[in-house]
């Protein structure tokens, strides 16, 4: 079943067109990964899909009653709002203590219910975010660089959790990550973004695609992506961006 479909989606952020003419869809139960260099529009696409950014052109169609569990890239928690983990899990929908304990256990942090949100470490925080997303019994789980701040083993463990959750809930997963090799291995489909959809397909297909290699280099399935890109590469598309990226 098709959960969400974007057609001809053009998105702007802060008055700048970040993504053009994106066609994509996510089916029930599949894991789709977005890859692309910094500033290529990965987070913007996610915001467009959840409805946080209104499209300049194109449409986003969601299946009726679609429940989205969203884990944002970062969540600033300052000391002003007092919030325990269990209270956080009950936003916006309340859950009973047993369900919360189950979700926290599933996410790998069973003992944190009474902790204050802002005292959590990076890894604990992401797991609590995952627990919150799980409590919504989502049809679609969206993870925007959810392993940020986790070390390699921590990230690998996190992805195993996601895989387990996917099988358990039979939900679709859309994720963004920089850990290319880990993420791509776990994905059914990969979308390579660079202001538009460069290429897409199974991880194997994308890895061999010239567009992907142009962006990430041929050795990118190894360690972290080096973001070496050639600017003279040829895309089969027509627009007038000048493919300049941040070489950080």
């Amino acid at each position: 079943m098709r959960l969400i479909t974007a057609t001809g989606l053009t998105l702007q952020q802060a008055g700048k067109t970040v993504l053009r003419d994106v066609d994509m869809h996510i089916d029930q139960g599949e894991i789709v990964t977005l890859v692309g260099p910094n500033g290529s529009g990965k987070s913007t696409l996610i915001k467009g899909l959840i409805g946080a950014i209104a499209p300049l052109k194109g449409t986003v169609d969601k299946v009726r009653g679609l429940r989205i569990g969203y884990v944002p890239q970062s969540l600033h928690m300052d000391g002003l709002l007092p919030l325990t983990v269990s209270r956080f899990l009950c936003l916006p929908d309340r859950h009973d203590a047993e369900a919360m304990h189950r979700a926290l256990t599933e996410a790998g942090v069973p003992d944190l219910a009474k902790a204050q949100m802002r005292t959590l470490s990076g890894g604990q925080f992401q797991r609590v975010m995952l627990a919150r997303a799980l409590l919504m019994s989502p049809d679609l789980l969206i993870l925007d660089e959810a392993t940020q701040g986790l070390d390699q083993p921590g990230a690998a463990d996190f992805y195993r959790k996601i895989e387990h959750v996917r099988r358990h809930l039979n939900c679709a997963v859309l994720m963004v990550s920089h850990d290319l090799h880990v993420v791509m291995a776990a994905s059914d489909r990969v979308l390579c973004l660079n202001g538009h959809v460069c290429c897409e397909g199974t991880p194997e297909v994308v890895q061999d695609a010239p567009e992907y290699r142009a962006l990430f280099g041929t050795g990118a399935q190894g360690a972290f992506a080096l973001y070496r890109h050639d600017h003279d590469h040829d895309h089969h598309h027509h627009h007038d961006n000048d493919h300049t990226h941040d070489h950080a």
């Binding site: 915001k47 959840i50 409805g51 946080a52 989205i68 569990g69 969203y70 944002p72 969540l75 600033h76 000391g79 002003l80 709002l81 007092p82 919030l83 325990t84 209270r87 956080f88 009950c90 936003l91 916006p92 929908d93 309340r94 204050q116 005292t119 919504m136 969206i142």
Partner: protein, 280 residues
């Protein structure tokens, strides 16, 4: 039965005849309305927004005097227009704090000028700037409590959504909650609170009543709900203690209430340093 009812009615009326009782009830009503809203003002860093809206109250006073309508209605209208204007202008290039600073001070200045134009007769300007809680009538009291009830009902109704939107707009959006709609709820609540508070603390000190009690409550609370309740307690105690102190020492009431709240803030800040209930 009828006799009893009449008797309670009579004591009731005589009780409300006492200006100190009316002032106390007005203070508590204002504190209760300001408590949950003040928490959101603190959580969302809307302090300047509160000030700008409160300062527009003076323009509302001028309006009411011009059309000889009830003060609170004019204040409500002016505060609502101002809050909407701030919300509409924000995020359009100019730094938010600069924009709010311009609007807050401009509203105050224009309000002062407008009142001076309108008042052919003498107007107690100090009363509108710093409140005149001792002059609260039974009619005012009814308006204050009705306004406070409306603010509290509105915030309780939207509580979960407001908290989610406060946490993160995208997180809210993913659950189908529009952060703009929730912002509008807070805007309406703010305008109502300003109208409620104009009599008791006045246009200049409404901001203080919104910020200081929640700031004082913060170190004592572990959840948002606890913070709102503790804020209500601190606000009410400050109102009553400030009223008593101003009677005792013959000081202006509104500022005295704010002084008491500030003193409570110092105490809880100090206490949380000595014995951290909720370590930072």
């Amino acid at each position: 039965m009828i006799t009893i009812t009449t008797m309670t009615m009579t004591t009731h009326m005589t009780m409300l005849d006492d200006f100190m009782v009316r002032a106390g009830l007005a203070g508590i009503g204002t504190a209760l309305a300001a408590a949950p809203l003040g928490c959101f003002v603190v959580w969302r860093r809307m302090a300047y927004f509160g000030d700008a809206t409160a300062h527009a109250a003076l323009l509302g006073v001028a309006l009411s005097l011009a059309f000889q309508g009830p003060i609170m209605l004019g204040v409500l209208a002016a505060a609502l227009v101002m809050a909407m204007m701030v919300q509409g202008l924000s995020g359009r290039g100019l730094a938010e704090d600069t924009l709010l600073g311009v609007l807050a001070h401009a509203a105050l200045a224009i309000g002062l000028v407008a009142v001076s134009f309108i008042s052919g007769a003498r107007v107690d300007l100090m009363g509108y700037l710093f409140g005149d809680i001792l002059a609260v009538t039974v009619f005012d009291l009814g308006l204050i409590w009705a306004g406070a009830a409306a603010v509290i009902a509105l915030l309780v109704w939207r509580w979960q959504r407001l908290l989610t939107a406060t946490l993160n707009p995208d997180l809210a959006q993913a659950s189908g909650i529009s952060s703009r709609a929730e912002q509008l709820v807070l805007t309406v609540a703010l305008a109502l609170t300003v109208a409620v508070a104009i009599k008791s603390v006045g246009a200049l000190l409404i901001g203080a009543l919104l910020i200081i009690p929640p700031a004082a409550a913060r170190p004592l609370a572990r959840t948002p709900e606890a913070m709102a309740l503790i804020t209500a307690g601190i606000g009410s105690v400050s109102a009553l203690a400030g009223l008593g102190a101003s009677f005792q020492f013959d000081t202006p009431t509104g500022p005295t209430i704010v002084c008491v709240a500030a003193a409570v803030f110092c105490l809880t800040a100090l206490a949380s340093r000595l014995r951290p209930i909720n370590p930072r």
